[in-house]
């Protein structure tokens, strides 16, 4: 069996109660979470808000360390830092606007990501930035624009381009389409699908929107009360608590087409 790209082993993360007035006790946000992502695979993580999805994403990215357990990327513990492998593990976040430095042009942001790992000669840089922009469906001329001159969907495309620049093997998508409108969501998902097909990049797709998961992911895991369990495709009768949670989430998905009697409860 080949080595998994990303593996979490019994990861636990707890937060101390915050603030002076807080009466909350320290609680486990993640409790003994284990998962594996194989090369080229797409694993969907579903959960309601507050289930610990973002914490999980940050640990999977190696920017936060678990309190117990291990987070391994290509078999190496990320607690020791990723070093050169940083380029292989990239991310796209929910809020594209705040993920881009408002003072830097699109081209500068992309160039930064390109230059960090292998210096591109000055003459080639503009061309490389242009190629990247074209890969995500933008025009090379957009490189001179500032983020605020782009729409939300275009900004998210720039973020995707930035994540693709170092040719990663795994991209963590933390609610990457959730704050976009429906039309743009569909476009971005198509874009991600085609990129995955073209470059064999694996995705860890973290979302609350379970309607997207079956069409986009190979496997689904449900995060509930800090624990993570992989569930099937939801076609069997739910037995375990996580399957029930998934069923509950799926049941909350709105109908794709109008019901016979609209508005009826």
């Amino acid at each position: 069996m080949n080595e998994p790209l990303l593996e979490l082993r019994g990861v636990t993360k707890r937060y101390r109660p915050g603030g002076l007035l807080s009466r909350r006790k320290a609680r486990d946000v993640l409790c003994e979470v284990s998962l594996r992502v194989e090369p080229g695979q797409c694993l969907g993580i579903a959960g309601v808000s507050g289930a610990g999805k973002s914490t999980l994403a940050r640990i999977a990215l190696g920017i936060e360390q678990p309190d117990a357990g291990q987070a391994l990327f290509q078999g190496r513990d990320m607690a020791q830092g990723l070093g050169k492998d940083r380029r292989l593990l990239q991310a796209v976040f929910q809020d594209a606007t705040s993920s881009l430095n408002p003072r830097r042009t699109v081209g500068q942001s992309l160039a930064e990501s390109l230059q960090n790992f292998d210096p591109v000669p000055k003459g080639r840089l503009a061309a490389r930035v242009g190629e990247l922009l074209e890969r995500v469906g933008l025009a090379p001329g957009d490189a001179d624009k500032y983020p605020h001159q782009l729409s939300g969907g275009e900004q998210q495309r720039v973020c995707i381009a930035r994540a693709l620049a170092p040719q990663p093997r795994l991209v963590v998508l933390d609610e990457a389409v959730s704050s976009l409108d429906m039309l743009i969501q569909a476009q971005i998902l198509d874009l991600l699908d085609s990129l995955r097909a073209a470059s064999h990049t694996a995705f860890l797709f973290v979302t609350h929107d379970v309607r997207i998961i079956p069409g986009f992911c190979d496997r689904v895991a449900v995060l509930a009360q800090g624990t993570l369990v992989e569930v099937g495709d939801g076609s069997l009768a739910p037995a375990t608590p996580h399957e029930q949670e998934y069923h509950r989430l799926r049941a909350a998905v709105l109908p794709a087409a109008p019901l016979a009697a609209p508005g009826a409860a």
Binding site: L61, I63, R86, R87, L89, Q90, A91, F93, D95, S98, S99, L100, N101, P102, R103, R104, E112, S113, N116, F117, Y146, H148, Q149, C159, R162, A163, A165, P166
Partner: protein, 278 residues
Amino acid sequence: MTPRTAAFLRPWSTRLALALLGLVLGLGLLAPLASPRDPNLVDVDRKFAPPSWEEPLGADHLGRSVLARIVHGARVSLLVVVAILGLNMALGLSLGSLAGFAGGRVDALLMRICDVFLTFPTFFLALFLVGLLGPGLFNVILAVAATHWAWYARLTRGMVLGLKHREYVLAARISGTGPVRLVTRHVLPPILAQLLVMAGLDVGHMMLHVAGLSFLGLGVKPPTPEWGVMISDARQFVGSHPELIMYPGLMIFLTVMAFNLLGDALRDALDPGLDHGH
């Protein structure tokens, strides 16, 4: 010229402020040319000489050329302000970012020190420090800087706290940007912009402090031409020769106003533009 510079220069108030500052700066730089007379040359025969072709602003109670003293005073006043500003920026930026990035106890300690400086009325603190250090140009600079740096440190620390968790800083980290570039590219620029805005609004305040200390005889030592000293000298004759107090007063007023207008313009130019779009 970039569109942002054009937008910055559009309001007439900005252009007025720049013109005034240019004038004061020019006067200071070209002081020996603009007024060939020695500002400290005492000539009792010319005591309170009225304005004339040779002496457009007349002479003061010791027969010194008022124009020469005003022009040379611009040098001293601007130099003092620039020195104080530099100190404030350096102290504020370094201690503020140290507190913001280090957090924890370092942060708590530095911020309590800031609080101590912030709780004193600034002028009395400056008076106290000058009293402690003794009068003199250098000590005035130290004293006024000491009363102002805490504001800069506070602002810097607050912005560092906000920025270090901003998603674009995180995103840059993930795309492999090293810590030095992270700070110089993503964290410092917005902070510098804010500090500049604050400095523009603060300079007038500092000039008044320096002039005030000089007026009280604690700042620049009397023969040196400085606007606060000139006001202090002229106040004894305010009944018979009110114009002697008016000239340096007018210069302080114009310079302070120019800096304030410039501060406003900087705020408008650097603050909103990027975040709200056009």
